[in-house]
């Protein structure tokens, strides 16, 4: 990658970096803002011009940055003739539009925002034409859809603007989705996502059985973007955008993206029957339809929009012909259309700006009031009509010439006749633009007395029409080299076919067709009034209505699905979820089949059978007695105990310990909440529903049991062997469970402690909100204190818990320290210490314990996450991935040699988070009581033998 390559990357980045400027510079004034928008554009344009000579010599400049090589995605760019043409257009017109918008936008419009969007769009568009990787191209393609959405909806207060933006996004975004599929298929066929590789494999791609699918999908993307029939309807609605946007996006750049893609893919996709019939027919229909509608549009911008649709159809048709000559004509017409159409849009904007209307029926006679605008508009429109001496004429002639030689479905006449019809209509609406706006008598009922705008506003269109004339008169000298190099890039190298860019080709069929078109166009314009009446009364499908119905229909369907499944009842969610899982499981089971068991059933020790019976009986009892909430909690205790015992039996003592601690904490949480809740669950659903749920539950439970049984009887390769083998070498610990938690799956653990911390904080926040609301009032007005024992903080219990406290803490620290090599770890020890602290809360009450708490639980959670995160990040310092642990052995007399592992620091984070989260949850729940009007006791116990006076302080 030489200098040129570096330049390319800078060019691609400049608009995006530049997009940061306008928003800031608007504080320095509107002109400064415009200048700082023009600056990155001008810089990028200069760089393109520096590269241009090399490209004109036929070189292709390339640059590549690896991005995600595993996906075949690299940030690679290249600049060939076609890219040069488009990059020049995008940046050059971008500069003109920046100037024009400076004068067009009024004081109320947020200009900084506008220029930011404009530069974002410019960057996306440049990305499309410079990308050498189709995945990258797709990203930029979607970016143009998004940024154009922002630009079209720039006037947020206008409903048409918002609707137009939505329609444009839906249509072009939908096409983009189809294109993703098409380009991925293309990449798969070619074996590379690099455009330059793909372009070399045209024959292989056309021969592939996937060719037709890829072609249709890619064309869907191109047709939606370039507003081809039947997707043309979004473009006129996008005209609600400010005129600079219309001139930039909807004449010069975005709508040309589809044409660009077709031109880019031309060497690969064109040349087949499918391509010819799909592309050229679509283009032909679009060309005629767009021209016909344009003729009857009274809105100046709508007229130009449909004319753009028509010209895009023309380009599509030319590319569809599949001949090299037609492709080169298309390239030339891209240049010509850009010059006159952007000028015309700007003219329409000037008229709208000055006369405060763009309704053709309310205009006329403007040539006297706006002479400069009249000259510019007339030149543009004459070029659009294809009148000699203007550049539109050249390409129209060449197009007609091509059409005259092309056979469509065996007919020699069809294409020439229809193409002439298109040209005729195009002449008619162009003439209408001139005569109905500028000619005729001066009126006295304009909404605003029009006059020519300041120089800054007409400078840009004036420059463009100068190009129209210069190219029109000296085509070969001015545009010839660019057409040759861009056309050469489209047809994929090789000899350029013979063509000549000149005004007079002698007496040719095209000349006759041209004469017919001009004369016919004049006649049609003469008949415009009666024709217009017929057109208005004639019924015709309104694309917008159909689109709206489609959207409304999809909204109805998705609402029906959403509200059908998410009706707010958790029983329904669970039913849907469980039934789906069971069905998927059954499907998987039916598909694969089950091999014969490879293991013998182990003998069942009688004591284990007892545990098994207890589990089943307790489960059944919970299911039947769950409406008696406290009894159900006691029964759950059995299940927890049996599961812990089962873990011990299956050689997982630390799991057993975790299980029993979690069980204890959970029971306490539930009891805390249950105090303020009804003690029984009412029967709410009918018998039929409960029967249905029972059937679902039993099926799912039976399924899971069957699955577990089936797996236990077979040898299945699992990841456990890897963990067992690598635990010591890789993680430096002999306790595999702990090494999995802090090393192999350290990232998961890190995520989980964050989730746990968030859960603790959310419970705190919810309680805070709850206790400020109506729930607090209900709490205050309900009496929860009937039938109470007088033993509030019994002496026995207080003393017992005080004795337990240091023991529990020592055990906790011990379990923590040895965790890496023997059963234990941060999680368990956090729970053990939490239980020890909770005992103090239970024994001496909330207030007494709270005054002795030094560290906020919130802080503890935060430090836990920070320590774990910093430990993980520490691995970066050693140049290793996040959370890679390392360990060493330390010998400190008089202690024996011991191991120090970074995993222990990570475990400390886990410990702190678990402790903080658990304590915060219990603390939050127990605060309910204070709101219910409970008194607190600041003394450690009811009767303190050391102190004979009992003090009870009441707080509200």
């Amino acid at each position: 990658m030489g200098d040129g390559g570096n330049f390319l990357i800078v060019i691609a980045l400049l608009p995006f970096i530049g997009a940061l400027l306008p928003g800031l510079m608007i504080r320095a004034g509107r002109t400064a803002c415009a200048i700082f928008t023009a600056l990155p554009t001008a810089l990028a344009l200069t760089l393109v011009l520096i590269l241009a000579p090399a490209v004109m010599r036929g070189e292709v400049i390339q640059a590549e940055l690896e991005w995600l090589p595993q996906l075949g995605l690299s940030a690679s760019f290249f600049l060939d003739g076609l890219g040069l043409l488009f990059a020049g257009m995008i940046l050059g017109v971008g500069l003109l539009i920046t100037l024009y918008a400076r004068f067009y936008l009024s004081g109320e419009d947020p200009m900084g925002q506008f220029y930011t969007f404009l530069l974002l769009f410019q960057g996306a568009m440049l990305g499309i034409v410079l990308s050498d990787n189709i995945l990258l191209l797709l990203i930029f393609w979607e970016l143009t859809s998004l940024s154009s959405f922002l630009l079209i909806g720039y006037w947020k207060h206008l409903p048409e603007g918002r609707q137009g933006a939505r329609i444009a996004l839906a249509v072009t975004g939908g096409g983009g989705l189809a294109m993703i599929g098409g380009l991925l298929i293309l990449g798969n066929i070619a074996g590379s996502y690099n455009l330059t590789d793909i372009l070399r494999q045209g024959d292989a791609i056309r021969a592939s059985e996937w060719y037709h699918l890829a072609l249709v999908l890619i064309l869907l993307g191109a047709f939606t973007k370039s507003a081809q029939f039947p997707f043309h309807f979004w473009l006129p609605h996008a005209m609600a955008a400010p005129t600079p946007v219309s001139a930039y996006l909807h004449s010069a750049t975005m709508v040309k993206a589809g044409v660009f893609l077709m031109a880019r893919m031309w060497p690969v996709l064109a040349g087949t029957e499918a391509w010819f019939y799909i592309v050229s027919t679509t283009g032909l229909i679009t060309m005629i339809l767009g021209a016909a509608i344009a003729l009857f549009k009274d809105d100046l911008k709508a007229l130009l929009a449909y004319s753009t649709v028509s010209h895009l159809g023309l380009l599509t048709m030319l590319l569809g012909f599949g001949t090299k000559l037609a492709a080169i004509v298309a390239v030339f017409h891209i240049i010509n259309h850009l010059t006159f159409k952007a000028a015309l849009f700007m003219t329409a904007g000037i008229i709208d700006h000055e006369a405060h209307t763009r309704d053709i029926k309310r205009l006329g006679g403007l040539r006297h009031l706006m002479p400069v605008t009249f000259v510019i508009g007339t030149i543009g429109a004459l070029s659009m009509a294809g009148i000699p001496l203007f550049n539109g004429f050249l390409t129209k002639e060449m197009m007609l010439e091509e059409a005259a030689h092309t056979v469509w479905a065996g007919s020699h006449l069809a294409l020439p006749v229809l193409a002439t019809l298109g040209a005729l209509l195009s002449v008619a609406y162009s003439f209408r633009f001139i005569s109905h706006v500028f000619l005729g008598p001066v009126r006295d009922d304009y909404p605003h007395k029009p006059h020519d705008p300041p120089f800054g506003m007409w400078a840009a269109p004036a420059l463009l029409v100068v190009l129209v004339i210069v190219i029109g008169i000296l085509p070969a000298a001015i545009a010839g080299p660019l057409v040759a190099v861009a056309g050469g890039a489209v047809i994929g190298g090789g000899e350029l076919p013979y063509y000549s860019l000149k005004i007079w080709h002698g007496i040719t069929p095209a000349l006759f067709m041209s004469v017919i078109a001009v004369a016919g166009g004049a006649i049609v314009l003469w008949l415009h009034r009666p024709l217009d009446r017929v057109w208005i009364t004639a019924p015709r499908p309104e694309a917008k209505v159909i689109f709206d119905r489609l959207i409304a229909g999809s909204v109805t369907i998705s609402r029906a699905i959403t509200e059908g499944t998410h009706n707010g009842a958790i029983s329904r969610y669970l039913a849907i979820f469980v039934v789906t899982s069971v069905l998927l499981g059954a499907l998987a089971f039916a598909g694969g089949g089950l091999g014969a068991p490879t293991r013998e059933l182990l003998p069942v020790p009688p004591i284990f059978a007892v545990g098994w019976i207890m589990l089943i009986v307790a489960t059944l009892l919970v299911a039947t007695l769950h409406r008696q909430r406290f009894q159900a909690l006691v029964l759950i205790g059995i299940i927890g105990l049996m599961v812990s015992a089962g873990f011990v039996y299956l050689s997982a003592p630390d799991l057993a310990l975790t299980q029993i601690s979690v069980e204890t904490v959970t029971i306490m949480l539930l009891l805390l909440a249950l105090h303020f809740l009804p003690k029984t669950t009412p029967v709410e659903s009918p018998v039929s529903l409960r029967l249905r749920d029972a059937v679902i539950a039993m099926t799912a439970g039976g399924g899971v049991a069957g699955l577990a049984y089936a797996f236990l009887l077979r040898d299945v390769g699992t990841i456990s062997d890897y963990h067992l083998a690598n635990s010591y070498e890789g993680g430096g610990g002999t306790n595999v469970v702990n090494v999995i938690l802090v090393d192999f799956r350290g990232y998961d653990t890190y995520g989980e402690i964050i989730v746990l911390g968030i859960a603790g904080l959310i419970i705190f926040a919810l309680m805070e909100a709850l206790l400020d609301g109506p729930a607090a009032r209900r709490l205050r007005n309900t009496d929860y204190s009937q039938n109470r024992s007088r033993d509030r903080h019994p002496l026995m219990m207080v003393v017992a818990t005080r004795v337990m406290m240091p023991i529990a803490v020592v055990v906790g620290i011990y379990i923590f320290l040895r965790g890496h090599n023997q059963p234990g770890g941060g999680f368990v020890s956090g729970l053990v210490i939490a239980v020890a602290l909770l005992m103090q809360y239970m024994a001496s009450g909330f207030a007494w314990t709270q005054t002795r708490q030094r560290i906020e639980y919130h802080t503890m959670i935060g430090w836990g996450v920070i320590i774990a995160g910093l430990t993980g990040a520490g691995a970066w310092l050693a140049g290793k991935p996040f959370l890679t642990s390392s360990f060493t052995y330390v010998h400190l007399p008089p202690i024996e040699e011991f191991e120090l592992a970074t995993a222990m620091l990570f475990d400390l984070g886990v410990f702190l988070t678990v402790l903080g989260a658990v304590m915060l949850m219990l603390y939050s729940l127990s605060r309910i009581a204070r709101y219910a009007g409970e008194t607190v006791n600041v003394e450690p116990m009811d009767y303190d033998p050391a102190d004979t006076i009992q003090v009870t302080k009441e707080e509200g």
Binding site: V610, V617, L635, T664, V811, S926, A929
Partner: protein
Amino acid sequence: MIEAALLFASGCYGLALLLNLWRISFGPDLADRILALDTMVINVIAILVLYGIWKGTAIYFEAAMLVAMVGFVSTVAYCRFLLRGDIIE
């Protein structure tokens, strides 16, 4: 000899567990159920110790001790709930 003693003892504790289950299921009182659950924890601790003797490893003793340390807390919580309603006052 020790084998037979272990078998006999574990049989006794197994039977005790089933009796605990009976008491938890049929009460009649809530206090009966809580007491039976606490007894069940004690019986499980005993079984863990027996299992440790049978396997000849110390790790189960430790597990038994830890279960003992934590296991009674939920009993306390259940009782406080019955007696005072609010377990953390």
